[in-house]
């Protein structure tokens, strides 16, 4: 692995959190009309993995808050009505918080700029994505589909192709952005070796 440019070590946790928020919001808005291809889950998971659970909460809530505000201001989702929007918001936000916490459990210290670490992140993104989709599909049923007469089983069946695409999105974006952010993340500081002292065996 090539030696890092020391300038990258100047990135603070807050800098990286800001970059992850930009990634999450920008990706979500750019990919708005591509169903279930999104960068929010990657941003939340990577925030958890590289910066810890507190920053994963910050990044997730900032990304969802800003992007939801823009999306609803553009008129999307108006056909659902305010109660359904608020209900779905609770499920999507909490679902992304779960993803961030899963990322934080993966652990900052174990995630380095290596293929092994990116494979670990990609693997962990699979259950995170499945959990998010199962959770939000349930929310969809509670607030949208159920009141219109659809069964939970039907909702989950209809969710399958979208979950497959969401999995494809996650396994591409998480290691892709993970490799970038692992390169930008300051390496763990190395403790100085203790000075050898005289002694006798």
């Amino acid at each position: 692995m090539a030696a890092r440019n020391p300038a990258f070590r100047k990135f603070t946790k807050l800098d990286l959190a800001f970059l992850l928020i930009l990634l999450g919001v920008g990706g979500r808005l750019v990919l708005l009309r591509v169903a279930n291809v999104e960068t929010v889950l990657a941003a939340s998971m990577l925030a958890g993995a590289f910066l810890g659970w507190r920053y994963s909460l910050l990044v997730t809530l900032a990304v969802m808050g800003v992007s939801d505000a823009v999306i609803y201001a553009l008129g999307y989702g108006g056909e659902l009505g305010l109660p359904a929007i608020l209900g779905i918001t609770a499920f999507t936000w909490s679902g992304m918080v779960f993803a961030g916490l899963i990322g934080s459990v993966t652990g900052r210290r174990r995630v380095l700029f290596t293929t092994r670490s990116m494979a670990l992140l990609a693997t962990v993104s699979i259950p995170a994505t499945l959990l998010f989709d199962v959770w939000t599909a349930f929310g969809d049923w509670v607030f949208i589909a159920g009141p219109r007469g659809l069964s939970l089983a039907t909702v989950y069946y209809m969710q399958i192709p979208f979950t497959l695409i969401h999995l494809a999105s996650s396994i591409v974006f998480v290691p892709l952005f993970g490799s970038i952010f692992s390169y930008l993340t300051p390496a763990p500081s190395v403790l100085p070796m203790p000075e050898p002292t005289d002694g006798e065996d």
Binding site: R33, A35, A122, L164, I165, A168
Partner: protein, 144 residues
Amino acid sequence: MLLPERVKAAVFAGLIVLSAVGLILAAQTFRPQPPALTAGIPVSMQIEGAGWVITYSSNDTRNNTVHLFLLEAAHTLHFGLVWSNWSAPYSAVFIEGINGSINGEGGRWWVFWVNGTYGSTAADLTVLHGGEAILWRFTTPEGG
């Protein structure tokens, strides 16, 4: 066997691309495919807009999705239709306006039912087999 890091990274990237393509192809198998019809089918449709109603029916249509049948009605009866496309990999049509009534006007939106059942998929993904009665209504979310 100890592979160099670059080789491992290349193999990993290849696996990721293959997996993503496989997942997207798998998703396509769930996409409703309207069959190519050898004979026409009967379908009827009522469109309830802002202060107006359009009815249209055909006993011999080969436009066997809700979207295609709506296009047929618009073409035959000469009313305007506005829609947008959601992009691949799971593209779908979203109806935005019919006969001058556009989504969001007066807090109302276009929704449809087929034989009384709420349209839970996009209009171009809702396949018609013959005998269906489609209802399009420009309504408030609570009015569904």
